[in-house]
Symmetry: C2
Subunit: 109 residues, 2 copies
Amino acid sequence: MNGLTVTQAAARSGWSARMLRYLDEHGLVVPARSGGGYRLYGLAELNRLAGLRDLRTRFGVDPAHLVFARRLRREPELRAAVDGWLAAAEDSGSWIEWEQRKHERLLAA
Amino acid sequence: MNGLTVTQAAARSGWSARMLRYLDEHGLVVPARSGGGYRLYGLAELNRLAGLRDLRTRFGVDPAHLVFARRLRREPELRAAVDGWLAAAEDSGSWIEWEQRKHERLLAA
DNA sequence: CAAACATTCACACATGTGTGCTAAGGTTGC
DNA sequence: GCAACCTTAGCACACATGTGTGAATGTTTG
């Protein structure tokens, strides 16, 4: 049985064991399994857990965001549709003005 | 006062007036305003509302997803970090197996 | 000016997501 | 074989998102 168990991986990664199971369930960090069904975390998994932590602290990216970003990578039609919509929105310029008003709101608060 | 008011635009777009205000608030479809503060929807806005509807029905894309996709476009560091993380995840292969197990689960249900 | 409509604000509720905890049962390693 | 750990399933809760509805107030237009 080679690799860390879920609580060992939790200790080394800073996530809770519960969260590791959650990430497994959602396909974001999927460890190997022992014959008896124990999760076995190796170096690759620990690195991905560290990367996740980085994404969260630096950018506020949650698991749900990554699930959607993964769809964008893997579904070209979806990517094209979303990109097209956003591009049109930028052309019209309304986004820029909205962004400015958002900053005004923040200053006023 | 040129353009449709919020309930007129709602009728023509199929969204509720409430939702149009929500989309405005989140910067996704931002109409012009009359001197007195009324929202004024023009052709560009109606088109974007139709596009939104299409994104939702074809792909299940919610407003929150678009807000994140917009961040991906506008924050190169974020895009690089997310893309790198997902690429590493794909290389390790675990995603593929997870996807297979997901299909098995669906078949079993 | 008055009727018809808009505005913002707020309460309310359903659903989804992230997280902790417990229960009942299986695995591992000494 | 036993202690220590794991598994899944479930309840519970807080927070965010999407949506309806109502109140108090302001705008438009005939």
